[in-house]
């Protein structure tokens, strides 16, 4: 299998911060809004470089979403920054009516998603956001795998006409995607080719899937690892091509088993090429306080859980 050395350990939110600064330099239509989390979202560099294009809106996320929608009228490309919970659930109707239904070119950038937010606990650990956002017609949903890819994605979404939900996180995490690996919204990446089982993952769990594939390799099982960084529009061809080759699929995500990547993949498989699928996801529950690694272990999202799911689905072939 293809191996990916750990280049560094960095948080994906810092990838967003660097990407935002970069896209701000490239395109003066880019403006940024933040709801009192500039430090957490790593938006300081953009705010310092472009003070006229940065809007601190205070702890008022609903207004932030509406303002962002309004700023597109006049040609701006607004990036909103707050935690994933406050980017989706808290402002769902604002996002739905003023952004999605109105077809506005707003980039909703959401940090601290999922369990790996850690110690803040379940109030902030949203595990339903991918589902909420992918249900909105016209909304693209992008969940990059590491620091490098989050930076690439932050820059790339400026060129995607229409609303985008960009989901990333808080913890320092292995950086393994080479900075020059091509990134295209809606185009999955086959990180490692295999013939026995397909592991489809997004976000932080892409690294766990690679670790699991290495474990499976030791047992003589050749896993194919796909980085599905775009949940919507989903790369259906990549899903089907791999499923036809391996005959079984495991999806891995830091999200409730309902509504997320797993269901998106299942919909493609059941419609076009039904094969057994197992879900590595949070089992319809809320999270709790703890370290990221403790939480991933407790809620069944760790490397051994991916390995176990692969062994289980292989038996169902």
């Amino acid at each position: 299998m293809t191996s990916y050395p750990v280049l560094d350990k960095k948080d994906t939110r810092s990838g967003f911060g660097e990407g935002l600064l970069e896209v701000g330099k490239q395109d003066d239509r880019v403006v940024a809004l933040c709801a009192d989390l500039t430090g957490s979202l790593k938006m300081d560099a953009f705010a310092k470089e472009f003070p006229d294009r940065f809007f601190q809106v205070g702890i008022a996320e609903a207004n932030m979403m509406g303002m962002a929608a309004g700023m597109t009228i006049g040609g701006k490309i607004p990036y909103t920054g707050t935690f994933a919970n406050f980017s989706t659930g808290r402002v769902y109707d604002q996002v739905r009516q003023s952004i999605a239904y109105s077809g506005k070119n707003v980039k909703i950038c959401a940090s601290h998603a999922g369990l790996t937010l850690g110690e803040d606990g379940a109030t902030h650990q949203i595990l339903e956001d991918i589902g909420l956002m992918r249900m909105l017609p016209g909304m693209a949903v992008v969940v990059p795998a590491d620091f490098n890819q989050t930076k690439q994605a932050t820059i790339a979404i400026a060129d995607h006409e229409g609303p985008v939900y960009l989901r990333f996180g808080r913890p320092k995490w292995p950086v393994f995607i080479p900075a020059d690996m091509p990134f295209e919204i809606g185009k999955a990446q086959v990180l490692s080719e295999g013939t026995d089982v397909t592991l489809i993952a997004c976000g932080h769990l892409v690294w766990k899937a690679l670790e699991a594939a290495a474990e499976l390799e030791k047992q003589g099982i050749h896993a194919e690892v796909i980085n599905m960084h775009t949940i919507k529009p989903l790369d259906e061809q990549a899903v089907l091509a791999s499923a036809k080759k391996t005959g079984c699929v495991v999806t891995c995500e830091e999200h409730n088993r309902y509504g997320g990547l797993g269901e998106a993949v299942a919909q493609v498989l059941t419609t076009h090429h039904g094969v057994p699928q197992e879900f590595v996801a949070v089992n319809d529950t809320f999270g709790e306080s703890g370290t990221p690694e403790e939480l991933l272990k407790k809620y069944g999202l760790d490397t051994p859980d991916v390995v176990a799911a692969a062994l289980k689905v292989l038996k169902r072939k």
């Binding site: 609903a62 509406g66 303002m67 309004g70 009228i73 006049g74 040609g75 701006k76």
Partner: protein, 291 residues
């Protein structure tokens, strides 16, 4: 940046505007009757204001609608349920054919129950209907104008009941903090909402004092007297560019122009039957030709 050639105000006199308003009120009642659904009360109450805005006050280019509206004054309807008024004024100003008013709330129409950009109806720049969102949008659009060096103004309209939504006050705070002084927000201060009088449902308290406390330049206007509306809107315009957003609290009568609809909240969202339509149309002279 190319500025569109803007039509000069087409109807300057109070009498001409009153005449247009009569036709718009006919359109409203006929549209809601035709669909047997819609919100006539607030639509009729805000007619004089919106006619004055589109036919006199705003600089806008009905014939060449663009989403960005660079160089044009923009209007956002936040209380989207008074869509019959909005659609009639847009059509009568030349944004789309007047005949299309007959499709209001019908299947496959661009004239949805509440305004939307989804069907590319010229003149509509944001979806509204779920209340409380339009002021934020107006603030954003006004800030975009400032970034673009565009001197044109942004107008918004809100129901008074709508001010019960928390997002309005988030936007109020932001507009003052960011010195959005190219924004004129208007409240339809009719004292009524769908369940009854605002004072009974959820009192707003001292509304002028609230907006002043939020840092706005606040004025009051009689919204059903065309001369007063013109005077008020001119005064509001003169208050822009001075570091504060401008709030026009506009006293209106829900159902204005149709006697049996006035004086109550009961016609907020009820369609007239055939006899009621006939009685309403008798009170509203046809001035520009019915659709």
């Amino acid at each position: 940046m190319t500025q569109p050639a803007l039509a000069e105000a087409r109807a300057a006199s109070v009498e001409e505007l009153k005449s247009i308003a009569s036709q718009v009120r006919r359109d409203i009642v006929r549209m809601v009757h035709g669909a047997q659904s819609g919100h006539p009360g607030g639509s009729l109450g805000c007619t004089d204001f919106l006619v004055a805005l589109y036919f006199h006050e705003m600089r806008h280019d009905a014939g060449h609608f663009t989403m960005d509206g660079i160089g044009e004054d923009l209007f956002f309807l936040s209380n989207g349920h008074i869509s019959p008024l909005f659609y009639s004024v847009l059509a009568r100003s030349g944004y789309f054919p007047v005949q299309e008013l007959g499709t209001f709330r019908r299947i496959s129409s661009r004239l949805q129950g509440h305004p939307t950009t989804h069907d590319h109806l010229p003149g509509v720049r944001i979806a509204s209907g779920s209340l409380g969102q339009g002021l934020s949008v107006g603030v954003g659009a006004a800030l975009a104008k400032k970034l673009n060096g565009d001197p044109a103004l942004v107008y918004t309209l809100h129901g008074d009941g709508e001010l019960q939504e928390g997002q309005i006050w988030e936007a109020a705070m932001a507009a003052a903090a960011k010195k959005v002084d190219n924004l004129i927000a208007t409240v339809d201060w009719n004292g009524r909402q769908i369940d009854g009088d605002v004072d009974e449902v959820m009192p707003l308290g001292d509304l002028p004092a609230k907006w002043k406390a939020f840092g706005w330049d606040v004025m009051e206007m009689q919204g059903n007297d065309m001369a007063a509306v013109l005077q008020g809107l001119e005064a509001a315009k003169h208050r822009t560019g001075k570091g504060k957003p401008v709030m026009v609290l506009m006293r209106t009568e829900m159902g204005k122009g149709v006697d049996y609809m006035e004086g109550s909240h009961k016609w907020h969202g009820v369609a007239p039957n055939d006899a009621q339509l006939a009685a309403a149309l008798k009170q509203l002279p046809e001035t520009l030709g019915d659709y």
